[in-house]
Amino acid sequence: MLLIACPWCGERDELEFHYGGQAHVAYPADPEGLSDAEWGEYLFVRDNPKGPFAERWSHAAGCRRWFNVVRHTVTHQILASQSNHPVAAGQPKPVIA
């Protein structure tokens, strides 16, 4: 089982999380202008690297926040996890394992 570091709650079992697929997939700037093939590419086609992979996870059974994780797809090592939640200056920052 993976041990995933939620940026807010710290390390928790994989069971508590929900997988959200590849991170940083931008919504097309002009969706009306895309051909069916390009739209299908945006909807369904994802990278499948052998190595570090940035992906989204949600701490579904915990604080229910979405965050990004970089996971090595061969070793399953969690290389980084990062919240995309803004933190005010001078306030406690989330734990980055």
Partner: protein, 202 residues
């Protein structure tokens, strides 16, 4: 007949069973339901003016450290997320607390929602309480990592719970959804069974 006389807590029918399975002594563990706690879900920006007004109204700032609890007066404010808290109070205090919070929130973005019927509360206490929880919870509950004033949202057995340690005995409160309460209670009673008997020695 008013709603108050008709209401039933999810585990009201098991009060006798819980009492019968509770044990004292140096490896004792007790389980009871704390029904009908007032529960308010509070969402707002944690560092805005509304948060300061709420801190003044409650007499204590909202906990911004993840997985901690503050106890202003008879209330308990449980951290649920960076912008979300659960305000617990005694039975019947919900509407007064909600008014207090709404008045402090004014027209800023945020919400105060009464979710009292969402979950019921189980209280597990006694010297063996931590060992019982450790049978089905992957969190480190040792005092070095988890003590009074800490909370967590996690899985116990297969059930999502809000776990809150109240004191160092230890006493834990488990907030569980009504429809999962029977399952979790059965699971806990099974986990508590060994502590009703003398320790087996090889």
């Amino acid at each position: 007949m008013t709603a108050d006389t008709q209401r039933r807590s999810p585990l009201g029918h098991l009060a006798d069973v819980l009492a019968a399975h509770s044990t004292g002594g140096e490896r004792g563990v007790r389980l009871r339901e704390v029904p009908f706690l007032a529960q308010l879900d509070l969402q707002l920006h944690p560092h805005g003016p509304a948060a300061e007004r709420i801190a003044t109204a409650l007499g204590s700032p909202l906990p911004t450290e993840p997985n901690t609890v503050t106890e202003p007066g008879s209330l308990q404010v449980v951290w649920l997320g960076p912008q979300e808290w659960l305000v617990l109070g005694p039975d019947g205090s919900g509407s007064a607390t909600a008014e207090l919070l709404r008045a402090a929130l004014t027209d800023e973005p945020g919400s105060v929602v009464d979710v009292s019927a969402n979950r019921t509360t189980l209280e597990l206490s006694g010297p063996a309480a931590r060992q019982v929880l450790e049978k089905g919870c992957s969190l480190d509950l040792h005092p070095r990592a988890f003590g009074p004033g800490r909370c967590a949202q996690t899985l116990l057995g297969k059930v999502q719970v809000i776990l809150h340690q109240v004191d160092a005995e230890p006493t834990y409160r488990l907030l569980v959804r009504g429809s999962f309460a029977q399952y979790l209670t059965d699971w806990l009673l099974d986990a508590m069974e060994e502590y009703r008997h003398p320790r087996l020695t090889p």
